[in-house]
């Protein structure tokens, strides 16, 4: 391993790497993100290595294991370069055919290609509708590089932003560039990053100690962009952090990552080690005399530990609970010293801004929200996965163009953005441009970028209950409005879904929600009523139906629905009898079956089992 001692040496080394690589040499890339691991990508890549070897092709074809491509539900994803042929749902058994047909005969394996609604096959990854409408600037490199190879990162221009910042920019210039780019924090609050850096740099500190932290706690259910970035492109985050350190003159950095992310921790650890070996991290970075090192700190996985002050308490080894932030963490943070905390995705944006300039960056997005944002699109939607889009794109484009709409021809009802404490945005606002401010205006928030799509079979009261339950469990329990208030909110919602709701309950929820929002100590509490208040705002009629008519319009709340069998449709096949765990269904063969309401627990298994749609919910 050689230690790079200057920007020139770095550039020279990059040229060496590129010269040794033949862009026309076939290369099989296999997604090895956590999603594809669940689809046995490990065995797929072993199959490739083995099969290539047995055909004596190991020298002629490169095999590379990359990070997450975002389209995880179609894993394992295999892309073959230089043609960029994209195969989806590849199983180990498909490997010999891919090698024989595509690598040797140069033909396509049709059945593994993407097929659109009209049955048309699509060959290139970028042309698949899911990808076509995205703008992958931050997430884009994931699919080209092996996260465990610093050479791959260098080959796509890695660490050139660091060299530029370190060797040809003053700290003030770096901060100025970030400020002008309009970058706002991707961790939830959307605080202007440049301003944060500047306050931290200017904060007085004895002995000049300042800390830099990367927040990789990512606790929102369903969100995993930070994980995918850390797993798939750890060097981009390290590079961003070193640039930040340079700007605020910090010498100690931490990545706080939850222990449930073993692959992220592993890949990050390898990347840190490599960066140190090459002289890109540690003492005398690139011969500039600047020292900065990063440690990994593994969190226990409490949602609240993502909050800045709780995170720092946890890093210090104390209970992860927030404190009042009247003195900001940029002045008094970790160990009482000025500390700059940014989200994983925020850090990953930094090298791009330094490389391409603030003017390039600020062209993307809307007036007050610049750049792109990665969302995790889940729920009742055809294409689930990670999508990166420019700020200002409408919800409609995300849900219908990229997400491919709602499955089974159902109707789109609402989308919940911003994680558990975000709000629900109804169908009527589907043309809302997505940026920090517009989402807040609509009663929701950007949060870390979760997006849960709901169709007509989702009950909004039940949904609000689900999120409040999550937050009640994840509240640290320090302050009264959040701990007791959320718990009582959950009681009221439970009553409503169980048919015990009182007419005054809806107003009580609103009153309680306002108080929790206004008086909680930290942002977990002050945003927690969002799911309830936004669903009351947009779906009040649904709450009223539960309370006044004891009816669940979506047919979800078990206490308010009954299952019965339609005389007309029932063929007497008896399938439902076998499906029922309560043995509540009886009937003779080929005759109408009936459900004993006393025994029925409204699990809905018979409805799923019946092939004739004879089980009706009312």
């Amino acid at each position: 391993m050689k230690r790079l001692r200057s920007a020139t040496e770095l550039e020279g080394f990059r040229q060496e790497i590129l010269a040794a690589r033949d862009p026309n040499k076939p290369c099989v890339t296999i997604c090895s993100g956590t999603g594809c691991h669940a689809y046995s990508c490990e065995r797929v890549s072993q199959a490739f290595t083995k099969e290539l070897k047995s055909r004596g092709l190991q020298g002629e074809v490169d095999v590379r294991r990359t990070g997450c491509h975002g389209y995880c539900e179609r894993g394992t994803i295999v892309v073959i370069f230089p043609e960029e042929i994209c195969y989806l749902r590849v199983q180990p058994e498909d490997v010999p055919e891919i090698i024989a047909t595509t690598l040797i005969e140069k033909k396509l394996v049709d059945r593994l290609l993407y097929q659109d609604e009209e049955g048309q096959k699509i060959v290139h990854e970028g042309e698949i509708p899911f990808y076509k409408h995205q703008e992958r600037t931050v997430f884009g490199s994931n699919r080209f590089i092996d996260p465990r190879s610093i050479e791959d990162y260098l080959a796509v221009g890695g660490y050139s932003a660091l060299a530029k910042a370190l060797c040809s920019m003053q700290p003030e210039e770096i901060i100025g560039e970030i400020k002008r780019s309009g970058l706002r924090g991707r961790g939830g609050g959307g605080f202007p990053t440049g301003m944060k850096w500047e306050s931290c740099r200017n904060a007085p500190s004895p002995a000049g100690v300042r800390y830099i932290i990367c927040n990789a706690d990512e606790g929102d259910p369903g969100a995993y962009m930070d994980r995918s970035l850390l797993e798939g492109n750890p060097h981009s985050i390290i590079e961003g952090m070193i640039i930040g350190a340079c700007a605020i003159e910090s010498h100690h950095g931490y990545v706080y990552v939850r222990h449930e992310y073993p692959l992220a921790v592993e890949n990050l650890g390898i990347a840190l080690e490599q960066a140190r070996e090459y002289g890109l991290l540690g003492e005398d970075i690139l011969g500039s005399g600047f020292d900065f090192d990063i440690k990994i700190s593994r969190g226990g996985g409490a949602f609240i530990c993502g909050e800045s002050t709780a995170l720092m308490a946890s890093l210090e080894g104390r209970i992860g609970e927030p404190r009042a932030k009247h003195i900001h963490t940029v002045i008094n943070g970790l160990h009482g010293r000025p500390t700059n905390l940014n989200n994983v995705e925020t850090w990953a944006n930094v090298p791009l801004i330094i490389n391409h300039g603030a003017d390039w960056y600020s062209q993307i997005g809307t007036a007050n929200s610049k750049g792109t944002k990665i969302f995790s699109l889940v729920g009742r939607i055809n294409n689930t996965g990670l999508v990166e889009v420019p700020m200002g794109i409408t919800l409609r484009e995300i849900i219908f163009d990229i997400g491919g709409g709602i499955p089974e021809g159902r109707k789109f009802k609402a989308v919940q953005t911003g994680g558990p404490s975000g709000g629900c945005i109804p169908e009527s606002l589907v043309d809302l441009p997505v940026d920090f401010d517009r989402l807040v205006e609509a009663g929701s928030m950007m949060g870390s970028g979760g997006m849960i799509v709901m169709d007509e079979t989702t009950c909004m009261v039940d949904l609000a209950k689900y999120f409040v339950k999550f937050l009640t469990e994840e509240s640290c329990g320090k302050c009264v409005p959040c701990r007791e208030g959320l718990d009582r909110m959950l009681d009221i919602l439970t009553d409503i879904t169980e048919g015990q709701g009182k007419p005054s309950d809806i107003e009580l929820l609103e009153e309680l929600g306002d108080v929790i929002r206004g008086t909680s100590l930290c942002a977990l509490g002050s945003t927690a009523p969002n799911p309830v208040l936004s669903t009351i705002k947009y779906f009040r009629d649904e709450y009223e139906a539960h309370v006044n008519e004891k009816r669940c319009p979506a047919g979800v709340c078990k206490a308010l629905i009954t299952f019965s069998i339609d005389e007309e449709k029932c063929t007497g096949c008896g399938v439902c009898i076998k499906s029922c765990p309560q043995m509540a269904i009886s009937g003779e063969k080929k005759k109408l079956h009936t459900i004993d309401q006393e025994k029925c627990i409204a699990c809905g298994l018979c409805r799923d089992a019946c092939k004739f749609e004879a089980v009706i919910v009312s």
């Binding site: 409490a302 469990e473 320090k478 302050c479 009264v480 718990d487 009582r488 009580l508 206004g518 100590l521």
Partner: protein, 221 residues
């Protein structure tokens, strides 16, 4: 010195003072439960909230943890503040229905019903005992365990720890562990023990017992 306006009155106090202390200095009463002059502010109970006016907007902040700032404008008892305090005390009562301190506070704010489910936990997690133990006794006998609604004050492994100096301070400082005063021990409507003669404004069955509500102990519901 920092100049600020509290309830329309200008004052100036040394830097580092909290808004709660500044207001108390002026004789303005702000209720507080987790605050104690001898302990570090904690900001958990939220009954000390005040309105901080910023231009045309205003925010609610806990005054016990809010440091004074030059030119700050504070309102300690607006409709917004008392509305929020009422809901908070209602929540506290739902968690500790038998605390006399809480009942008195509720009564003084005109709260005479609890609309939430009662779940008697006998602790409001104000942390006074934990801080007292740590900061005044330099011990670490008790601490918080658990998260969310399962959070509670406990000793390590549920045993009396070696660090405990048997000072009883934790019990003394607790606003809710105190035994509820029963009607039987009333003499002339004043409980001999606490002699708390705080005026009671709103209780419909008030007999000026000095308790907040009712004559059959401190039950508000």
């Amino acid at each position: 010195m920092v100049e600020l306006t509290i309830d329309g009155i200008k004052t100036s106090v040394p830097e580092g003072t909290t808004v709660l202390e500044a207001a108390r200095e002026m004789g303005i009463i702000i209720p507080a439960l987790c605050y104690h002059p001898g302990l570090t502010p904690y900001g958990a109970c939220r009954v000390c909230i005040v309105e901080v006016v910023k231009g045309s907007q205003s925010l609610l902040e806990a005054s016990c943890t809010l440091p004074v700032a030059q030119g700050q404008t504070i309102i300690t008892s607006s409709a917004k503040v008392s509305q929020a305090r009422k809901v908070i005390i209602e929540l506290l009562l739902a968690a500790c229905p038998n605390s006399k301190t809480l009942q008195d506070l509720a009564a003084s704010m005109g709260v005479n019903r609890v609309r939430f489910k009662i779940k008697d936990k006998n602790c409001i997690l104000c942390g006074l005992c934990v801080r007292y133990c740590k900061e005044q006794m330099q011990s670490g006998g008790i601490g918080f365990v658990g998260r969310g609604t399962s959070r509670r004050v406990a000793t390590a492994f549920g045993e009396t720890p070696e660090e405990c100096r048997n000072c009883n301070g934790c019990e003394w400082i607790c606003p809710v562990c105190e035994r509820a005063c029963m009607a039987g021990s009333l003499t002339d409507g004043v409980c001999g023990r606490c002699l708390n003669l705080a005026p009671v404004e709103t209780c419909p069955v008030c007999t000026h017992c000095s308790e907040a509500v009712g004559s059959s102990g401190h039950r508000v519901y």
